[in-house]
């Protein structure tokens, strides 16, 4: 069971010291909300420009601090859950709005990172992924598992149909080689979603391996949302609604 977090006055004072947001505003907000939400949604405390900048830096610092600590504590980062993977990739891709970057972490059989590579660095319009290159890297690293991640410059964490198709193409290539794609993390702003956690990660090879380059086109925000088969209503169900 989760225990309710107690926030001390010293904590509020610290947040005030680091961000410049008046104590009264922080405390008022924290009466009904998690005060760390202020870092995600600073406008809830109506900050001025200087305070907004400080909030942004503190938020970025906390994300980077976590990964640095994780890296320094463990010589090799090990993933046991989508949260681990999300935190790790958010620290690298979090907040990137200029272009889409696709990363692959090549993992050993205990899901520890052997190597993380940027496999595609596109523009805001599209990215191109070369499956041959990923295959070469996977073989060179003698990996057992693969973890994919990319950012959506638009900020959405919803996987698009193209994201799912890309993952399926990679699964088609690696599954016959006994290399599992264990997750695909989507980063939007400083948030993330996990295809594995959401039950939409392709796990089986559905077609022959196709090594042709894959283009991830620009996706309009409205079309990001992907519906799981069980979420799609039948015509009868829709009629009832």
């Amino acid at each position: 069971m989760a225990t309710k977090q107690v926030y001390t006055d010293s904590f509020f004072e610290s947040l005030n010291k680091l961000t410049g947001i008046p104590m009264r505003k922080i405390k008022d907000y924290a009466k009904e909300n998690n005060p760390f939400n202020i870092l995600e949604h600073p406008m809830v405390v109506e900050p001025n420009d200087r305070q907004l900048e400080k909030i942004g830096k503190l938020k970025e610092f906390l994300a980077s601090y976590n990964v640095l600590k994780m890296t320094q504590e463990n010589e090799r980062i090990k993933f046991t859950s989508p949260q681990d993977a999300g935190k790790y990739f958010t620290s690298i891709l979090g907040g990137m709005k200029d272009k889409e970057r696709i990363l692959v972490a090549f993992l050993d059989n205990s899901n520890s990172i052997i190597e993380t590579k940027i496999i595609s660095e596109g523009g805001i319009n599209m990215s191109i992924v070369y499956p041959r290159d990923i295959l070469k890297m996977a073989i060179a690293n003698d990996c057992s598992n693969i973890l994919m991640a990319h950012n959506h410059p638009g900020g959405s964490t919803n996987p698009s149909k193209e994201d799912i198709d890309l993952t399926q193409r990679i699964v088609n290539i690696f599954k016959p080689l006994d290399i599992n794609v264990i997750d695909h993390i989507i980063i939007g702003g400083y948030s993330f979603s996990s295809m594995a956690e959401n039950g939409i990660l392709p796990s089986k090879s559905m077609d022959l391996a196709n090594y042709q380059p894959i283009t991830l086109p620009e996706i309009k925000e409205a079309s990001y949302a992907y519906k799981r088969p069980e979420d799609v209503l039948s015509i009868e169900e829709e009629m009832e609604l």
């Binding site: 680091l18 906390l62 320094q72 590579k117």
Partner: protein, 92 residues
Amino acid sequence: MRTELIEKTELDRVLELMCQILGLQEASEKVVVEIIKKVGIKGFFNNVNDLEVTDLEKKSIMALKLVIETKEEEIANREGVDTDGNKASLYR
């Protein structure tokens, strides 16, 4: 990008952001950077009282330490729930 390179990038990023957040003087900045490189980020926050920085800067570092610790407590509480569910075991 090897893990060591990511660590270096993260270290640079953490150092830069930390110095900006704390508004450290140039001399203090050097002290902080040197210690973090020597003892690691966690070790640094364990020994704030011994730092050769101004009292005001020390208070800011303590404030940052408290925010980090509170955030970590909060994550630990939240993940306590996850370990009872399926999330934590998803990759095993």
